[in-house]
Symmetry: none
Subunit: 230 residues, 2 copies
DNA sequence: TCGGATTTTTACGAGATTTTTACGGCCGGC
DNA sequence: GCCGGCCGTAAAAATCTCGTAAAAATCCGA
């Protein structure tokens, strides 16, 4: 493996300088971003092996950054935070973070936790996924939250988009009604199976040339739905 | 997934009691060991989804436990420790631990970190699950829930598919009517033996070249059915 | 607060699936 | 040979699922 790449999303110059020094000394390639928005772009373009994100960012909540990342990548995310409250930790970890380090932290500990994260991805091959999914004329840009059919952009409501990305993450495999309800509407709505039918109708209406004969959004009768792959 | 299994290696009765209460309440199956040696045995026999190990054990160093575990398993290990020194954390993490929680800790944080560990293994098994059953021209792709005869895809209703996969899971062995009814229709229908005959007919009609002379779905008269292997 | 967008509910017909029923053949025991 | 149980097949009946439309409730930004 070449030197591991790390994206650091952090606004405090002091901490950035400190980490830049340690990380480069340890042989990491470090890419920095000072806002959440810039960080998301950086992760998309650099495809790093680890992301370190501060919870207190100027433009958007660090939690939102984690959730946006998790829409399209499984890259390990380590949270830095000035707040050491248990509630903050639980929220961040459940939002998709892999580790949580409270400030002030020691360089040694952070580096050790980065090594743990790298060990994890060494086993799993798909550390850095592709950020756009394509099949036929359909194109889903998970990084920028944009969807195209041919060169025509299609707009979606939040639930429609979440439903689509859930299918994208399991593209080619069947996703059960239960799974979709849990992922999109939360674990409390797993009995409202008709929600899925209604919204799958919306998606087909917007994406398919012939909504009644879907090419991408396939029904698996009695089980759930499947997004076609090439 | 059934309830996740956790092995706890910890000598302090107070902490054991505390964790026993919280973990069972959260729906985990907890197995306890009070010494490192017993812990290693417990992990070997229970094959848990997560291991929690205290660094200060009476018989052997917690670090040694971690190293011994890493000789043969990648199961996530979360370290509990009274010592919060950075040096201890680095040593434990580099020895193979996946996470390090200092005492005193909150139940919420530990549970959240356990969920992170479970997420990791869920993703890993996912990728490794390249399970497809083959015999002759028949091909059952369990991961994608697709079945082929030759290169022709065959579609199945939920019950048909469940019946087929039940046979696949015991391929080469006889599966009794009772067993099939219990697995497919649930324990309340074990007296409707003709269901199996009707549906076995469907399967043969869809899979066999000559349904009357089955090559894959064999009848074991008076007992049940058997799926042929090479 | 208003108006539009979005989500949640409700209803229903077409079609697929499951369940039930019926019947004919086969085989071993009597 | 006759009978009863087991097996396979077919088809009718009951039930459930899916897609669709549209009304009602809710949310959200101006």
């Amino acid at each position: 493996m070449p030197d591991p790449a790390v994206v650091l999303i952090e606004d405090e110059p002091q901490i950035r300088r400190f980490l830049r020094a340690t990380m480069t000394r340890e042989g990491y390639r470090l890419f920095e971003a000072t806002t959440g928005a810039a960080g998301l772009v950086e992760v998309g373009s650099r495809q790093p092996d680890v992301v370190i994100v501060d919870l207190g960012l100027p433009d958007m909540d660090g939690l939102a950054v984690i959730r946006r990342l998790r829409e399209w990548t499984d890259v390990p995310v380590i949270v830095l935070s000035a707040r050491g409250q248990e509630r903050d930790k639980v929220t961040a970890l459940d939002a998709g973070a892999d580790d949580y380090v409270s400030k002030p932290f020691g360089a040694g500990e952070l580096l050790a936790r980065i090594r743990v994260a790298l060990r994890h991805t060494a086993g799993a091959s798909h550390a850095a996924d592709e950020a756009t999914f394509k099949v036929g004329a359909l194109q889903v840009d998970l990084l920028h939250r944009r969807v195209f059919v041919g060169d025509q952009e299609v707009r979606f409501t939040p639930i429609e988009y979440k439903l689509l990305t859930t299918l994208v993450q399991h593209a080619g495999r069947v996703v059960t009604h239960q799974q979709l309800l849990r992922e999109v509407w939360g674990p409390t709505h797993t009995d409202q199976a008709h929600y899925v039918r209604v919204y799958m109708g919306h998606l087909r209406h917007k994406l398919e040339a012939e909504p009644a004969r879907p090419r991408y959004l396939l029904t698996e009768p009695g089980v759930g739905y499947r997004l076609a792959v090439e």
